[in-house]
């Protein structure tokens, strides 16, 4: 590939001529901008880039990218993306989805795409609400959520998407948020470069139906004490002065005062750890975005991706049996001749 020139593009090249129809102030805008700005940096080709989405506000995303794209049906984007990624390993396939799309109606497909390690990059816009249908609670809404469909408060226990993905042994799991373009771009880049299924949960504000859902952790003032940055190879610590940290024991992960335990007791983040249990423990530090919450890459391990496995089987079959011969196939059973 070294003799192939890296295409030089700008954000404008990745921007379609379609008018954007998200509500003014929606967090989706900053995510779109981050992706459009990242593409030139990745040296990606527009013709080799496909965005596949399901249904929901975020799933309008492909219309705004000047690439190939499919706005499919509710929850099924990972299914379409699996077929495309397996049959066209030369493409880079992104899946754009939301908390309702990926975790409710499409939960099964998400789990299996992660389990199989299909080579797709999944951006999961989590706003903890159904926006397109105008404000019902979602599978990531906090218990007790009062919405149009839950006037007395929701009863369901919410999913933590990162925990879910780690439980499915996803090979790449990360979290970022719509208030920090730099962090988003860095995280998306890692997800893009990962071979296999990568899932990025993006905390995204729905300013119309669930405004301020992430305020407790994402206002500029709150971030230092409420976001726990995960940096590979570094001790996990946070706080205005870095005074807090995370220790991991057999009982799980817990937040400590560094002064109490000493820096040496802090967990050193290892995103490449083969066993997902420590990453899972980290994902359980916060029940929801109201207490200190880890962001960054939880897990990035190498595992053969599904499309490569499928295609190597196809190649191996050709090597062993020779290319398909239709005449021979039709006569592969017992045959006899008449006349």
């Amino acid at each position: 590939m070294t003799d192939v020139a890296v295409p030089v593009t700008t954000k404008k090249d990745w921007t379609s001529d379609q008018e954007i129809r998200w509500c003014p102030g929606c967090g989706d805008y900053s995510i779109l901008t981050a992706v459009q700005m990242l593409m030139p940096e990745l040296g990606a080709r527009r013709e080799d880039t496909v965005f596949i989405s399901g249904i929901g506000c975020s799933s309008r995303f492909p219309y705004y990218m000047d690439t190939y794209g499919v706005h499919s049906i509710h929850g099924r984007a990972p299914a379409l993306a699996t077929g495309l990624a397996v049959s066209r390993p030369d493409l880079h396939v992104w899946v754009i989805t939301g908390d309702g799309d990926a975790l409710s109606i499409g939960g099964n497909h998400l789990l299996h795409a992660l389990r199989r390690n299909v080579d797709i990059t999944i951006l999961l816009f989590n706003n903890q609400i159904y926006g397109l249908t105008k404000g019902q609670y979602s599978p990531t809404s906090e218990t007790g959520k009062v919405t149009k469909s839950t006037p007395f408060g929701s009863l369901d226990h919410p999913y933590n998407p990162v925990s879910l993905a780690l439980g499915a042994e996803a090979s790449f799991v990360a979290r970022t948020h719509d208030m920090d373009r730099k962090h988003m771009m860095a995280t998306f880049k890692r997800a893009y470069e990962h071979k296999g299924a990568s899932l990025v949960e993006i905390y995204q504000n729905c300013n119309v139906f669930n405004d301020g859902a992430f305020e407790a952790i994402l206002t500029k003032d709150n971030r230092p004490r409420m976001l726990i940055p995960l940096v590979h190879g570094e001790p996990i610590r946070f706080g205005v002065e870095g005074e807090k940290g995370v220790v991991v024991t057999a009982d799980g992960a817990r937040i400590v005062e560094v002064a109490d335990v000493g820096e040496g007791a802090l967990a050193v983040h290892d995103e490449a750890r083969p066993d997902p249990s420590v990453a899972f423990a980290l994902s359980r530090l916060a029940d929801g975005p109201t207490s200190p919450t880890p962001i960054g890459v939880f897990r990035a391990v190498e595992r053969a991706d599904y499309g490569s496995l499928v295609n190597s089987q196809v190649l191996r079959a050709s090597d062993q049996k020779g290319p398909g011969d239709l005449d021979a196939l039709l006569a592969s059973g017992a045959t006899w001749t008449v006349g």
Binding site: S16, Q18, R45, E47, D48, T49, V50, I52, I55, P62, Y63, D66, T67, Y68, G69, V70, H71, S72, I73, R76, P78, A79, L80, A81, T82, G83, L84, A85, V86, S87, R88, D90, L91, N108, H109, L111, H112, V310, N311, Q313, V314, R316, A317, S318, Q320, G322, P323, G324, L326, D327, L329, L330, A331, G333, A334, T335, W336, T337, V338, G339
Partner: protein
């Protein structure tokens, strides 16, 4: 065969045979010639009856007979042994001439236990032959089958030729040299039965022995036991002074050519592989296991050297979703399923209608609704294929007529899908899927080229003179939109389930545009009528009053039934439609020529409803919903009744 152990002496009883006169041993030197015979093997679902029937079929095919088969097995993997619910049967019709059905009534029933006898005796032809494993007729087994008295002793079978053979004990004795334990040895009794019938109908034995040796090559003991059991059965027929004669059904005078014996599902899988080659597209199968379609997934999975990719998806929805995603990328996306799976795939099929991408939906119909009768046949998904989506969402439908025809129907469905960029339903059914027939292997070079080009260039000039790509700018003749696959520089575009602007393909909520797009999608599918063959009318005399209109797997029963009616001097016409949406262009004209139209279907009148609505003809239905295919005799009677009712 003389080198094998001769069967032990047994107290074989040969009761109440109307033809029992002088028994002659070793009658095989001068077998009686028959033009056809229908044999049904029946036993417990664990008795290996499907295997036995399959093998008898294969040896008959190699012998050169025409044949047709009807496997009939329970939905349970292993229903309680000895019960009626657990009976598994395999019927095969072999003949020295061209035949069309597995036969209405078996002339020979092989019953391995009382339940198999009880479940099948009502179907046996008058004065037919019944061969039972008399060892299995003990009190307990009789009770399990619901017999108050032993039918072998109470005279209830006096109208049949009954042969009682202690198959279990002879088998146990015969396989002793293999060293098999009695419990395992007993399992070879199906091959003993196969041996008896192979002698009775003068089947060649070497090929079957070779087949047993290959099939059980991994276990010498089992291999030896099965060969011994088969030989013992054959020798038993020859030496046991039980049968007065054996029979021969001579090879049929089929069209010259090379033949193989093929089931509908195998033919369908091969047709898909051929379609991929003819379309110059890789086949991508997204599928979830379901009876009776799984064998297509199995078969395609074997042939990856044809570039076939198979994904066993997490569910039916993912199966069709992955297939559609692959089609978007320039593969020929296929999904295989049965009715319950079609239910789940419906939303994605609607998306494919809107995306206007090729997609094959193979529906092997089974008894419904819901889980229904998974292993039985039915044709009741026609209206689902026609209308089972929200909105106006037309999908072309192709239906194969015989097991071998599944090959050609798959190619035809693929041709339509890629040429018109549309999902296409292929409606097979359980009867075609599992039934087998000799199939003349087609000349691969004579198969049609069904390839279409991908779009490579922009197709529209903007107001400012710049070029761009419009994904919904249609071909003037076919109304198909261009198929531009990712990876093609300059043709980047977005498509989706939302309504699209005619031509440009951008999202459009404009009412006039939506109405136009609805009509365009309908017109595109309707226009396929110009590109499919006209229906052929089988009306030898040209003056028939009655037309029998069928579709799909009823072809054989209708054609065979009409043969009988015509032999009686009646003039009757037959049309069998292969394309159910759109209908062939001349179908309406043909239908209105006949004062009477009879539509036999394994549903409650779905095609009948369509032709009545479409052509205002007073078609009458002949409907069967038993999970079993029509018998020729049923068609014959209904046609005679319809003729008499004038």
């Amino acid at each position: 065969m003389a080198d094998t152990a001769s069967p032990p002496r047994t107290d074989v009883a040969h009761t109440d045979s109307p033809t029992s006169g002088s028994s002659t041993a070793g009658a095989s030197t001068n077998p009686i010639e028959l033009d056809r015979v229908v044999i049904r093997f029946a036993g417990d679902s664990g008795d290996g009856m499907q295997l036995t029937g399959d093998r008898f079929t294969e040896s008959s095919a190699l012998f050169g007979n025409d044949l047709s088969t009807l496997p009939d097995f329970p939905a349970e993997i292993r229903a309680p042994a000895g019960t009626l619910a657990g009976v598994s049967a395999f019927q095969v019709h072999i003949s020295d001439h061209d035949i069309l059905t597995p036969g209405d009534h078996p002339s020979v029933l092989v019953a391995m236990n009382p339940a198999a006898l009880r479940a099948n005796v009502k179907d046996v032809a008058p004065a037919g032959t019944i061969i039972v494993n008399s060892d299995s007729f003990d009190e307990r087994a009789l009770a399990k089958a619901g017999y108050a008295a032993n039918p072998l002793e109470d005279g209830s079978l006096k109208d049949f030729t009954l042969y009682e053979i202690p198959m279990t004990s002879i088998t146990l004795e015969a396989v002793k040299p293999s060293g098999t334990k009695p419990r395992d040895a007993e399992r070879s009794k199906n091959l003993f039965a196969l041996g008896v019938i192979s002698w009775m109908y003068t089947r060649p034995v070497e090929a079957t022995i070779a087949w047993i040796e290959a099939k059980f090559a991994k276990n010498d003991m089992v291999k030896m036991a099965n060969v011994l059991a088969f030989k013992a059965g054959y020798n038993f027929g020859e030496t046991a002074e039980l049968f007065e004669s054996n029979y021969i059904v001579k090879p049929a005078a089929l069209d010259p050519g090379r033949y193989t014996n093929v089931s509908g599902n195998t033919a369908l899988a091969w047709g898909l592989i051929a379609a991929g080659q003819l379309a110059k597209l890789p086949i991508f199968l997204g599928s979830y296991p379901i009876t009776p379609a799984s064998d297509i997934l199995h078969e395609l999975s074997k042939h990856k050297n044809f570039g076939v990719r198979t994904v066993q998806a997490e569910d039916e929805i993912a199966g069709v979703g992955a297939a559609l995603g692959a089609s978007y990328g320039g593969a020929l996306g296929v999904t295989t399923t049965s009715g319950p799976g079609v239910d789940l795939k419906t939303e994605t099929i609607g998306l494919a209608v809107n995306l206007e991408l090729p997609l094959l939906i193979i529906d092997i119909q089974r008894g419904g609704p819901s889980t229904g009768l998974p292993t039985k046949t039915e044709q009741a998904d026609l209206l689902q294929a026609m209308f089972g989506r929200h909105g106006e969402a037309p999908v072309p439908i192709v239906a194969p007529q015989t097991p071998g025809d599944c090959f050609h129907a798959a190619i035809e469905a693929a041709r339509i899908a890629v040429k018109y960029r549309t999902p296409v339903f292929l409606l097979s059914d359980g009867y075609l899927a599992n039934g087998a027939e000799p199939w003349k292997i087609p000349d691969v070079d004579a198969l049609p080229d069904i390839s279409v080009p991908f779009a490579t260039e922009p197709n529209h000039v903007r107001g400012d003179g710049g070029e761009e790509f419009w994904p919904y700018l249609r071909d003037a003749t076919t109304l198909a939109r261009p198929w531009a696959v990712p990876g093609t520089p300059g043709l980047e575009h977005r498509i989706g389930g939302l309504e699209k602007a005619d031509g440009a393909g951008t999202v459009s909520y404009d009412p006039t545009n939506h109405e136009k797009m609805v009509h365009l999608r309908v017109a595109k599918v309707a226009g396929i009528a110009r590109d499919i063959p006209l229906v052929e009318v089988d009306d030898p005399d040209g003056d028939s009053e009655l037309l029998v209109l069928g579709w799909g797997s009823t072809y054989g029963a209708i054609a065979a039934g009409l043969r009988r009616v015509r032999l009686q001097g009646h003039h009757v016409a037959h049309v069998h439609v292969r394309h159910l949406n759109p209908f062939p262009a001349n179908l309406g004209d043909v239908l209105v020529r006949y004062p009477k139209v009879l539509v036999p279907e394994m549903n409650l009148g779905q095609l009948c409803k369509l032709v009545r609505a479409e052509f205002l003809v007073d078609a009458k239905g002949l409907n069967k919903m038993s999970g079993q295919p029509f018998r020729a005799g049923e068609i014959e009677r209904a046609v005679l009744d319809a003729l008499a009712g004038s």
